[in-house]
Symmetry: none
Subunit: 196 residues, 4 copies
DNA sequence: AATGAATGAGGTTTCATTCAT
DNA sequence: CATGAATGAAACCTCATTCAT
């Protein structure tokens, strides 16, 4: 089982508290509109002190992204390992990704998507490499489903469509509504392999 | 047929040129990282002169969004009117939305999604009202398909999933690749009504 | 009799209307905070058109001041001419100056005092010369009263004290209150020659 | 005795130095024509550094005014306490106010009068409340003189006339001339209680 | 005379980052 | 490690003035 930490994937060290606060603020106001003072105030230190933990504001952003990719890649791995059939693996992947996106790591995931551009080219490349591992896990499952004839379309494209579907969920999903994440995962599975 | 103008939906007046340049820059670097000087330089005027056309930088953003919503709402209307069956209407809607998103209004559409937060609450409300009309057109078609039994899931949710799918397309679609927008629209239709 | 014109001392030509509007705005918001656009809007023209009437914004300020000094110098002259005794002349001067300051030329007079610093050195000198004539009229009367033994203090100082007294009146005087300008002039006379 | 500090009422902290420089510049060029860069240059820091001490340029203006009102209210209190008869108290008040206006706090006092309008409504109200205390001290003395029959006119009006007289003094008084502030105070007392 | 778009200098303020304490 | 004053670059916006029409 993945250890469940403070904000998840982020521990309770000064560094961890900084990252949690930053993720929250970046998600709320965007990276550019969050000041280093905002972050410092959120954890109760002075703005200058932040630079003992991170070399720059952008480094904080990168750290948030790196942590959340690592944490959710591990979650994906465990989701796959927990199932036998390709179809069950797909549902598990979707369920895990939805959990990432609207559940415990929602803020950091939102930041990952919306503040991507704020990363320097250099760091974008590094984060992209990590993201590649995550995507590999997805493609393996989709390709095996495709080989089984579960759907006709290109697995690569299907993954892109699923990425869009799950990525948009935080913009409309109501955690207190009648639709559960399990239901939603099922509906999404049906978009891949057909209804029933 | 919708008239095809300069950047589309935006004419060749000074104001129109400003809007095109702004959309391009906002898409490229983000609203916050685009300076008023950048925009002015892109159209060959001085930064101060911008404020004869728009009251503030944010007003430019809003104008870009308003224009693109209007233009694409009209495109949706014509897409629906051009088809008879509900299924064909769905394909036409998807085709039209893809055209908006990766075709002639790609930049402004990207801005609409990614820079939404940069709008003041007040302007968000105004833009949301316009966006509501656009969504209504979608829901009518999906609901009639649903009544016909073309799919079981909630039409409202299906629309949300489609929004995610199309919205993510610019992040991976290659206009020069072998997959055409028509092909892609077909693949998406299948996600709703099943693979034939 | 002094001709009574539009705002007083200012006629109904385009130039006159500009000066009235400017005096009003300068008094209300100060010279620096009044924009050339404010003035233009107040008379219903475009900002660029102002420069057909005045070379610069500062020229408008100077014109307001020049007009009001001329107008009120003439009023002083007539006040003196209308009385025989030095004491009656003093009361008439005070009454006239109060009229300038809280009556028909109140706005321009306030501008004369409060926006003096906004004039270039050059124009300050020119305005000072005009103001000198005005002050001469005062000193003549005060000196004759002094020679008559009506008061002991230096007439020059007395004039300074009176200038302060009258100049401050707009900050507290209530035109609709029970104290009339005539009453006030009497009280001021008593400050010079004693209470009865 | 009131302690005599740097510019008076303003100490030698960074904030105090900023305030002194600002008072000097505001008096010299007016609030609107003094730039934040001017103030910074006058104390030898960068313009951005000012905002560690004051939230806005207007805040500096308010601080200057607040300090000078407090300082001079205390001076007034001590002036009254130092005398026994109402007539002597009046002279002491005048002497103290003249000291404020042409002496140690001359610059800040000038700013208080001439830049009043540059304060936001909100801050005007706050400053007015402070000023009210100062004026109360004056009225108490004038009312007791009035009860003693030292003059007939309304004490409230007399205070207004004195305010005008003293307020105008910086515009003509020559500190190196033969007229001392004590002499001037005496002349002003005579304007209230008669020459005798 | 009038217009109104354009200029361009300059204003206040923000903010990531540094560094002496 | 923490502080907080200072930096200095750069951002948005204002505005008197010009000028082609």
């Amino acid at each position: 089982m993945v250890e469940s930490l403070a904000i998840n994937g982020i521990d309770d060290s000064p560094r961890g508290r900084l990252l949690s606060a930053a993720a929250h603020l970046f998600r709320d106001k965007g990276f550019d509109r969050t000041t280093v003072r905002d972050i410092a105030a959120a954890v109760g230190i002075q703005s200058g002190s932040i630079f003992h933990h991170f070399k720059s504001k952008e480094d904080i952003l990168y750290a948030v992204m790196e942590e959340v990719i690592h944490f959710n890649t591990e979650r994906l791995r465990q989701a796959i390992a927990s199932q036998d059939s390709a179809r069950d693996k797909l549902r598990a992947l979707l369920r895990a990704e939805l959990q990432s996106i609207v559940g415990d790591t929602a803020e950091a995931m939102a930041v990952l998507v919306t503040e991507w551009r704020c990363l320097s080219d250099d760091k974008q490349r590094k984060a992209l490499a990590l993201r590649g591992i995550y995507e590999q896990l997805w493609l393996q499952v989709l390709e095996s489903l495709h080989r089984e004839g579960a759907f006709r379309a290109d697995p690569f494209i299907i993954r892109r469509l699923l990425t869009g579907m799950t990525g948009w969920v935080p913009n409309w999903f109501d955690r207190d509504g009648s639709l559960s994440l399990d239901d939603l995962a099922d509906i999404m599975v049906e978009r891949v392999v057909g209804e029933s």
